[in-house]
């Protein structure tokens, strides 16, 4: 009877032996986060139980009530200067590398921007002929954007998927540099008042876009007033300071290498408001600044950047980064007022700024004792500045965690993430190696679980776009 049962059951149920379940919705990263929460809750309950024993039955009720209402996270921050605290996600502990999909025939690709949710990454892909494409990954899925742009230096994206950038009107050999946006699947030129788009470096969740325009008629408080330019004339022609209009956008310092600081570069820092890009707002330039560049725009409209002044440069100082001799970090408040960022005692005065998010500013400041710049993070709410264990920083998330890179003993550049308590170097994928040259861009999502950057094929010096999922 039993033997018959076994054979019969095996025969009948065998129909389900190769039954494939639907794809699982279980996410290992979420499992880890839930596991951490539960482990912490257990510790909390254990601690409270001990307290109950100590306090006795009379105190038990209030303690339990307090436990029930206690926030799960131990640390909280104010958001956007408001008083409402919010929970902070748990810091990731390990990451997995994934090569991002690319258009056919791509030989070189890189990630240049990412949105706060981690959903979108933007970057470039170039083929053998050198033709480059602007690409956007939506949860890792590739889209080649239909934009007439080549060789952008900067690309930015927000959580709506709005993309902005600089680059050249294709074909690159003959095109002029442009500032552009891609919203709701529509390409648009950003107005520059006849000036030459120099760099487009930031976009916030409102869709405000931040950039720099050289020359032209856009005027703001304290901005240099230039003579109107003839359409098509090289920027700076009015002041006799002829720029190469085909130099890489954002590479002004390189284009000017060897020249003497102190000339009028005629750069205007501008914000194209998300609601009305035509109502361009020009930021006030600090007095005596010879060169001002912007780096990032926060969701409340706060802008950060840096200025370089010949008058502030010290002879023989900052030999490792001479172009930053006399550089200062700047913060433009939403009301347009501008102030300098302080450095920790014993450090500075040279400062360079790279990005901002939720009141966290990242950049670097001079270590005058050892020479060279130290990566650092400023908290605009408290004024606190702390050094970071990264060689260079490129992005910061809502909670002050920083994406950047470290350089190993062989001089190779590895994307990395610095949280409050640890440094996570992104692991390699099979067949790939760390990068052989800097700078690279490393972007980080608000929850710290999505990192975008590049690796190199083993034996190649061409970067390949990657994203890391972290838990």
């Amino acid at each position: 009877m039993r033997q018959y049962d076994d054979e019969s059951a095996r025969s009948l149920l065998g129909m389900l032996a190769d039954d494939t379940p639907p794809p699982s919705r279980v996410d290992i990263g979420a499992l880890v986060l839930n596991g951490r929460r539960r482990a912490r809750r257990r510790r909390l309950v254990a601690a409270t139980t001990t307290a109950l024993v100590t306090l006795g039955a009379v105190a038990a009720v209030p303690v339990v009530v307090d436990l029930a209402n206690r926030p799960e996270q131990q640390r909280s921050v104010a958001t956007g200067g408001a008083a409402q605290p919010e929970d902070i996600p748990l810091e990731p502990a390990s990451c997995t590398a994934r090569e991002l999909p690319l258009p056919d025939m791509t030989v070189r690709s890189e990630v240049l921007g990412g949105d706060p949710t981690g959903r979108f990454l933007v970057g470039t892909a170039s083929d053998k002929r050198g033709q480059s494409f602007v690409v956007r990954w939506d949860r890792g899925q590739l889209t080649t954007l239909k934009v007439p742009v080549e060789r952008p230096t900067h690309l930015v994206v927000n959580s709506r998927g709005d993309v902005a950038g600089d680059g050249y009107v294709a074909p690159a050999e003959k095109g002029r540099s442009i500032a552009w946006a891609y919203r709701d699947d529509t390409f648009e030129n950003l107005p520059t008042g006849g000036g030459l788009p120099f760099a487009v470096v930031g976009i916030n969740e409102r869709g405000d876009i931040l950039g720099t325009v050289q020359g032209g008629t856009l005027v703001g408080p304290g901005a240099p007033v230039a003579s109107p330019m003839e359409p098509g004339a090289p920027a700076g022609a009015a002041s006799g300071d002829v720029m190469n209009p085909y130099a890489a956008p954002g590479d002004l310092l390189a284009a000017k290498r060897g020249q003497v600081l102190g000339r009028n570069y005629d750069l205007r820092q501008v914000v194209w408001p998300g609601e009305n890009p035509d109502a361009v707002r020009v930021l006030a330039a600090p007095p005596n600044a010879d060169l001002v560049t912007v780096a990032g725009i926060d969701d409340d409209g706060t802008v950060v950047g840096r200025s370089v002044s010949k008058a502030l440069a010290r002879v023989g100082a900052n030999a490792k980064d001479p172009l930053l001799n006399g550089a200062r970090g700047l913060v433009w408040a939403p009301d347009g007022s501008v102030r300098e960022l302080a450095t920790p005692p014993g450090y500075g005065p040279d400062v360079s700024i790279e990005s901002i998010r939720n009141g966290w500013v990242i950049g670097s400041y001079l270590n005058p004792t050892e020479g060279g710049m130290v990566a650092g993070r400023w908290n605009l709410r408290t004024g606190e500045v702390r050094p970071l264990s990264l060689k260079f920083v490129t992005s910061v998330n809502r909670y002050g965690w920083v994406g950047g890179y470290v350089v190993d003993g062989s001089g190779r550049v590895a994307p990395a993430l610095a949280t409050d308590s640890r440094l996570l170097v992104m692991p390699l994928a099979d067949g790939f190696d760390r990068n052989t040259d800097a700078p690279i861009t490393v972007v980080i999502s608000d929850n710290g679980q999505q990192i975008g950057s590049v690796l190199h094929h083993v034996g190649s010096d061409l970067p390949v776009a990657f994203r890391w999922s972290c838990v």
Binding site: D5, S8, A9, L16, D18, D19, D27, R36, V471
Partner: protein, 181 residues
């Protein structure tokens, strides 16, 4: 948890996720409930990982956790479950021969009493020997055998004589390779 331990946990779970989801799916007969069960099990595993990693057969231990979570499913607060993903993958459209038959069988199996169902799944779809199933369920081998008999009878009753007769000439009783779990 230390980063190294957590990395170990991630690697362990990554390697077992598909297998555990299959067992859960066979036990529950429903993909979403199966996912919930797997989440519940692996979240508990995280908390106990330091201890579980040291046991002799961690796979068997985790399988036991999953089955026992299934048997005590009523006690789980499904209404307060946490959605652990930000997107729902597309459902696979059933294709190929025998799809309807499998759906009928799965439905009938899902209505067999839980403990009997667990015995049938573990013995004939996960290919576990009687002694191991007995240990897993915390009962005697004799109980496993009687549960097998009762479960099979229940399954037949639920399917109905007509269905069984229709399946028989099509070789349902023919030998099949049971996928290892």
């Amino acid at each position: 948890m230390q980063a190294e331990l957590e990395q170990e946990y991630v690697e362990f779970v990554t390697a077992r996720l598909a297998r555990m989801q299959r067992i859960a799916y066979l036990l529950c007969g429903d993909a979403h409930r199966a996912d919930d069960l797997v989440q519940q099990t692996f979240t508990t595993l995280y908390v106990q990982w330091r201890r579980v990693r040291a046991v002799e057969y961690p796979d068997a231990y985790v399988r036991t956790m999953l089955v026992r979570a299934f048997l005590s499913e009523k006690r789980l607060a499904w209404s307060s479950r946490v959605d652990l993903t930000d997107s729902v993958p597309e459902r696979i459209t059933p294709e190929g021969p025998g799809v309807e038959d499998r759906a009928v069988l799965r439905d009938a199996l899902s209505r067999v009493p839980k403990r009997q169902r667990a015995v049938l799944v573990l013995r004939f779809l996960c290919d576990l020997p009687v002694d191991e199933v007995a240990e897993l369920l915390g009962c005697s081998p004799g109980t496993v055998k009687s549960q097998t008999s009762h479960g099979l009878a229940a399954l037949r009753r639920l399917l109905g004589a007509e269905t069984l007769a229709a399946w028989d000439p099509r070789g349902v009783k023919g030998g099949r390779v049971v996928a290892p779990v």
